[in-house]
């Protein structure tokens, strides 16, 4: 019976989001390849390994790319303009989040800048989103 009820999630998405709210970027270390998976998955994002252990990332990384949203989806009207970004963490995996930066000054020179996680953004959600969800917020390290 125990075998049939086995679950494979070492770090749930809810726990990952809770971590972000507490200022921690949580991930998983793979026993097979020693690389880090973040956001969490049931298997290693690099090698598919199944032996995973919780770990905390530094929250530091490099800005891969970004944009400034001017035309938002329904529910994000109050945020405009805002900056979604893709960050390659020091530990390896990439993370999608928001960049805390003056949208009118955001230009191509930001790409490849060092960034660090500075907080969390929680969207109120809507009737489609299954509740609220949280993403990391990054700032440029000057």
């Amino acid at each position: 019976m125990e075998k049939e009820l086995r679950e494979y999630t070492v770090l749930t998405h809810a726990e990952y989001e809770e971590g972000i709210k507490e200022g921690k970027l949580l991930g998983l270390r793979c026993a097979s390849c020693e690389r880090i998976t973040c956001h969490p998955m049931p298997v290693c994002q690099w090698c598919g390994g199944r032996s995973l252990e919780r770990t905390e990332l530094s929250g530091e990384g490099e800005l891969t790319t970004f944009t400034v949203i001017r035309v938002p989806p329904e529910g994000f009207e109050d945020d405009v303009p805002y900056i979604p970004c893709l960050v390659k963490t020091k530990e390896g995996p990439c993370v999608v989040g928001r960049l805390d930066y003056d949208a009118e000054r955001a230009s191509q020179v930001l790409i490849s800048k060092q960034v660090k996680m500075s907080g969390a953004y929680t969207h109120k959600g809507d009737k489609f989103s299954g509740g609220t969800h949280t993403c990391p917020v990054f700032v440029v390290v000057e």
Binding site: F66, T67, P72, G75, F76, P84, L86, P93, V96, A106
Partner: protein, 397 residues
């Protein structure tokens, strides 16, 4: 696998429709059946691409109701969903079933009523094809994803962003030039003499993507009659053969190695070429998924038609126009023709078939008629990719 042929094609006017989705799909299907000269009794199964019917008209299970609307009887009717690639997924699945010998004749196509949703709600529902857990709270949109890809493209290939924006704009100029000549296009007789400056100076949707870098929201449907190739000549003198197909899956943006080199697309295109026994040099025309100008450039490189980082220059040089290396999106593409997302893959096939029959609108027809054509359809932020290679003669064994 048996060879599979397309013997009939249908396509509604793209743009704003007053008819409901099931009516649009039935219009396209009956056109296709009339084109093929087949009757309701000949159809053994239906495969319908539809991305967001629940949000548009409160309708799930639309395929069954489409079969009912066409009085096709209790045949299997399946909705296929791969966001903007839904119709191509439907066509591929349909062709597999016919190829496997389960059916001799089926309908495959797609439908969408996205324009009727309005920009705010449509943007919300389209964004559902982003990864909801991680990209949802960020407020990412599809223009946003491709804006991020454009910035990365600029960085990767050391093309100043302003220069890249001009080259991206040339995609919109080209596709609108041809969309304006296409009577079924959303922008028929409109924006045909668009200038690069117009695209650059239109308002930002997501920097550096402007409104004129984007395809529109659209309503419309397109459908095909697929038939076992060995029986196709009973119905038409000009069957168009499906020579190769591919499908690939991606994942959340954060798990992609490089936004400008989507593995899902590279893998899907390779599968299609391998199945067809052809390579990019053999292909005479393309209908690719230009949801945004930058998307066309990334598509052409990922499919192997240009080296990495070279599609921008090639497009600005006219290499993707009639008379160039390879004509791309002579229908107007998604940008000029419109993008009813669940229907787009079928529409792309429709326009390849039109080209092969020599029936494309004046100014869009490639001369001599193409022997081999290929479609490329993208769903989500590289989440679902589909490729279909078509030919005027059967696969060489």
């Amino acid at each position: 696998m048996r060879d599979v042929a397309i013997i009939g094609i249908g396509h509604t006017k793209f743009g704003r429709a007053t008819k409901m989705s099931h009516e649009l799909f039935s219009d396209a299907t009956l056109q296709a059946m009339d084109d093929a000269g087949v009757g309701l009794k000949d159809i053994e199964a239906l495969f319908q691409g539809a991305a967001l019917p629940g949000f548009e008209e409160g309708q799930v299970m639309p395929a069954a109701f489409s079969a009912a609307d066409l009085n096709l009887g209790p045949i299997p009717a399946t909705r296929c969903e791969g966001a903007c690639a839904s119709a191509s997924v439907a066509i591929r699945d349909a062709a597999m079933w016919v190829g496997a010998g389960e059916y001799d004749m089926v309908i495959a196509g797609g439908v969408e009523k996205a324009l009727s949703m309005g920009t705010s709600y449509a943007s919300r529902t389209f964004a559902m094809a982003c990864h909801a857990p991680t990209e949802g709270p960020v407020g990412l949109t599809f223009p946003g994803v491709f804006a991020m890809a454009a910035r990365l493209y600029s960085r990767n290939y050391d093309i100043p962003l302003d220069t890249l924006r001009e080259k991206m704009a040339s995609v919109s100029v080209k596709n609108h030039r041809h969309g304006a000549l296409n009577p079924l296009a959303q922008f028929y007789k409109k924006l045909g003499d668009l200038k690069v400056e117009d695209v650059i100076n239109s308002k930002f949707v997501a920097d550096p993507i402007t409104l004129l870098d984007c395809c529109p929201f659209s309503d419309g449907a397109s459908a095909l009659v697929l038939c076992a190739a060995e029986k196709a000549r009973k119905y038409t003198d000009e069957p168009i053969y499906i020579l190769g197909m591919g499908q690939g899956s991606g994942g959340p943006l954060s798990k992609m190695e490089d936004l400008t080199k989507p593995v899902s697309r590279i893998s899907s295109a390779k599968t299609a070429f391998k199945q067809a026994g052809l390579s990019p040099e053999d292909i005479d025309m393309l209908e690719v998924h230009d949801c945004f100008t930058i998307a066309e450039l990334i598509a052409l490189e990922s499919m192997g038609f240009f080296n990495w980082g070279e599609a921008a220059d090639a497009t600005a040089d006219g290499q993707t126009e009639i008379g160039g290396k390879i004509p791309v999106n002579m229908s107007g593409g998604l940008i000029g023709k419109g993008h009813p997302i669940g229907a787009t893959g079928a529409s792309q096939v429709y326009w390849v078939v039109k080209q092969m029959r020599g029936e494309a609108p004046e100014g869009n027809q490639i001369d001599p008629v193409p022997e081999y054509g290929m479609t490329d359809t993208l769903g989500g932020d590289f989440g679902t990719l589909c490729h279909i290679i078509l030919g005027r003669s059967k696969r060489k064994k």
